[in-house]
Amino acid sequence: MENIAEYLKAERSQEWRTELRKSMKAKERTSKERVHMPERDPNIRNKNIDEVNLGLTAEMALEEAQRCLDCPNPTCITGCPVGINIPKFIKKIETNDFLGAAVVLKETNALPAVCGRVCPQEKQCENNCFYTISLKKTPVAIGNLERFAADFERNSGKIAIPEVAEPNGIKVAVIGSGPAGLSAAGDLCKYGYDVTVFEALHEIGGVLKYGIPEFRLPNEIVDVEINVMKQMGVKFRTNFVVGKTATLDDLKEQGYEAFFVGSGAGLPRFMNIPGENYNGIFSSNEYLTRINLMNAAKEDYDTPVLSGKNVAVIGGGNTAMDSVRTAKRLGAERAMIIYRRSLKEMPARVEEVKHAQEEGIEFMNLHNPVEYYADEHGRVNRMKVQKMELGEPDASGRRRPIPIPGSEFDIDVDTVVVSVGVSPNPLIPSSLPDLKMTDWGTIVVDKDTMQSSIPELFAGGDIVRGGATVILAMGDGRKAAAGIHKYLQEKVRKN
């Protein structure tokens, strides 16, 4: 950490930064109000898949960048899992060097346009901003500025390809092309390794493609970032299930010397209540995959999806919000969230909940499903829910929901999306008996290097965390890349 602090200090004392700080009084900066990012009209956007947030204009970005005080101790960076040099990129924006800002982002972040859209900045960088901590004011809109710089670069047609070290010829395999894998692959490539990313599906991107809907993260944006990685030299293999198509040993025989497993949280959880296997009841993974990855809602695609007039989504996380807002867009008259705690305990981002409310989503908080019923064709047509009340806080620190006896009642539904979490994908671990696992099915790793009990195997993202965010997965990918680099360099030196 010492080195990083010194590096940041040196960067901050560069002449252009010093000059810029002097160009406007701190008081003037702090007196500015946070710029609001424009959004599409809720009653128009809930009928199409166009992106909800519209991004900042250049004028807005300049105005917002001026709010940043370029603090001597930039606490915001401590909140960023991939350690973006936040003041530097914001000050680049303030000097009108938008492309330069994008270059700064890419020093540590392989997917800035993605992170600018889906990171929970309010819990990370922005929560650690000087404005939040000391001034008790709304923080600098770091996420919106990140998105602005990344979008500006993409739209300029002058996308910078990050510099990579001289190729060292050492082969490294990355398993899974979601945020953890892409982030690891990007860094490993920069270190000079010969990186191949293996993906089980037919598309690169993992949850960024199959999970997060277009209205929050257009697939095209993911593809542009993946293309940059291809130009850096990262190789991709789709339709390849490591552990099935080839084992780890097969890959070792092919010369791969280290592995990063970012295979994600594959297995959707259900509640195991009566009737849960009726038709029209989906896991959020299935519902979103059919629509996002397979384009089921588009007329000319072969994959079908059932989405009706009365859609209940069970759960209160971001995936639940994505599912319910998708159902609304597919024409649901009633699109409901059924969540067993209250709005306050909801794990979804505040912004997502707000957007859902604006779009006409009903929130049935403090309710829990008990049983499903079906018509004569086996299609769900009704569900029984029970009212809940909050008791004492549980292990998660949130107040425990307690069922109220006798409060059950029925609601008409024709589609249900169960979004109560996921378990780690067992495919890789089950093919490696020596791999140390937790009781929850996640891979045990050293928290600094992300190295597993198999020395050449590193892991990160949901296969280690059990269900987290894009940015935490990316942070793991970066750490693992550094861990792999250290491991391989030591190995090279020994030989």
Binding site: N277, D300, L306
Partner: protein, 278 residues
């Protein structure tokens, strides 16, 4: 992309396709399946691997035209490419010397049964195979089955070939005659349901290989879930083979029909477009 190197129609609607897929050919075992997708707008469907040639690096799929994707596959020719093929997926069949194994295949289910029959025979089992279909032209792989079974009994609904009657009649003939240690049944869900009821009567351990609707095929989506012994199981990662006496076949039948309406509509539309093209 996997290139088609061989194609043969067994009947008007049943086609054998041999694909270049060297890694899958090397890794696959009896009981494994692949997921395929045809065209950028195609859906993902699971198909059991009927055979493979490791030397040539090919796998064999046998499909019956029942909907858009199977018809699209049947319409491809030698030299054409299947957009995506991924596998081998699922658990391989557990093979050992059980003694006498009664294998029953219904219709196009005979195809996935073939590698299992072959593996069981190689492991030293006495293998008796019952092949059943509506009529003669739907009985496939008969020679291959004969080459790998101690006995083959053919049953057709209409009596156009072999004996007239259902698969269960052929199975009972064997069960009443000799001790059967294990049974493996593969075919339409309704056939497996009644085959399982038959062996249950005689207390013979029975495995069924299930072919449900899937999307990813790696445990991610749960589209393939069924109830086995009262518990929810995923066919893609927990199966595709299960204790046939524990499977809720009625639920499986219902889930297989989840998209019936869309499927019929899409197939009609496809057939119309295919006609115009021709």
């Amino acid at each position: 992309m996997s290139k088609i190197v061989e194609k043969e129609f067994f009947s008007k609607n049943v086609v054998k396709v041999v694909l270049e897929a060297p890694e899958i050919a090397k890794a696959r075992k009896a009981g494994h399946f692949v997921i395929i997708r045809i065209g950028e707008k195609g859906e993902r469907i699971p198909l059991t691997i009927a055979d493979a040639d490791e030397q040539k690096g090919t796998i064999t799929l046998i499909v019956q035209k029942v909907g858009v994707t199977s018809a699209k596959l049947a319409a491809l020719n030698v030299g054409d490419e299947v957009t995506d093929v991924v596998g081998p997926l699922g658990h391989a069949t557990h093979i050992e010397n059980f003694g006498t194994v009664l294998c029953a295949g219904g219709g196009v289910g005979i195809a996935p049964l073939y590698p299992i029959v072959k593996a069981l025979k190689n492991a030293g089992n006495r293998v008796i195979t019952v092949l059943a279909a509506r009529s003669k032209d739907l009985i496939i792989l008969e020679d291959e089955m004969r080459a790998n079974s101690d006995e083959v009994i053919v049953m057709t609904d209409d009596g156009s070939y072999g004996k007239q009657g259902l698969v269960t009649a052929g199975m009972e003939e064997v069960i009443n005659r000799e001790k059967v240690h294990l049974s493996v049944v593969i075919g339409p869900a309704i056939m497996m349901k009644f085959a399982a009821l038959t062996t249950k009567k005689y207390n013979i351990k029975t495995f069924a290989s299930l072919n449900t609707i899937m999307v990813d095929g790696t445990g991610m989506c749960g589209a393939c879930r069924i109830t086995v012994g009262g518990k929810t199981k995923f066919v893609c990662v927990d199966g595709p083979e299960f204790d046939a006496h524990e499977v809720d076949f009625d639920l499986m039948l219902s889930r297989l029909g989840a998209y019936r309406e869309q499927e019929v509509k899409a197939y009609e539309k496809y057939l119309k477009t295919a006609e115009t093209v021709q």
